[in-house]
Symmetry: C2
Subunit: 167 residues, 2 copies
Amino acid sequence: MSPPLPDKSTKKEHIRFLQQAIDIANTNVHTGIGGPYGALIVHNGNIIAYSGNCVTSSLDPTAHAEISAIRKACQSLQNFHLPDCILYSSCEPCPMCLGAIYWARIRQVFYACSRFDASAAGFDDLFIYQEIAKHPEQRSIPMHHIHLPNALSPFISWQNKEDKTPY
Amino acid sequence: MSPPLPDKSTKKEHIRFLQQAIDIANTNVHTGIGGPYGALIVHNGNIIAYSGNCVTSSLDPTAHAEISAIRKACQSLQNFHLPDCILYSSCEPCPMCLGAIYWARIRQVFYACSRFDASAAGFDDLFIYQEIAKHPEQRSIPMHHIHLPNALSPFISWQNKEDKTPY
């Protein structure tokens, strides 16, 4: 993980972009595209990707605003890492989106509502944060670890592969 | 969240499907498509979707095996929820994929390697699990909560919308 770069943007700029994320979320509800969330990604001061939540319209439970914006930003920059990018979201990212932010190596995140606000509006964000902290076998969705003799073989092949693309 | 349905599959069947997930992971490394991970989704005893990790080949940091398999399964069933489905993964799902599993309302998960195995092979799964538990401002990727006057407006619009599709 590379260290955070110095942030040259002012707080006023952060608020401007965050306000746009909220506007996307409102538009998303009014047009019926999906849930009340919006996100955008800024690179060198320019918006390179934005999205509302598209779960219901695209039949994709992973199509949260942040995930969709990350996917678009990666296509825009033709890179699976976004280390010079800032993500603005109308709400605190859920654990799925938080994981995506780490895998994409985004530099910094700003958000307007919290997981508690999302929970009060009927969404599972806070619940999933609580579930993640539990032992896998004790979660509401049962998760079972079965030990198989060759389970590590993909990792061994990966480590021995000379022409791999690390990520 | 609906309660887990009774599981009629035997342990032998679980092992067979889990072995197939490992096979997908191995093939994924050998063909160079992506990282050493594989996942498949079973519905009524039939595999309805499977995928390896496609992060590098698709320039999509969210294209983990589990996420990709969930997306395909939802298209297959034409539903953004998968409550009658079991997910088999060559490795314990990372926080991003775990979140996706909850949003998709998958019934049950089986996995072969652990987050510690993934970490030993150079992947960030364990690190991200540790980061998620921290206060947003204290994470290695700084996350800032800015309070804006109209931040809750998308949630209010959502709650007032009569023709919405809940998810």
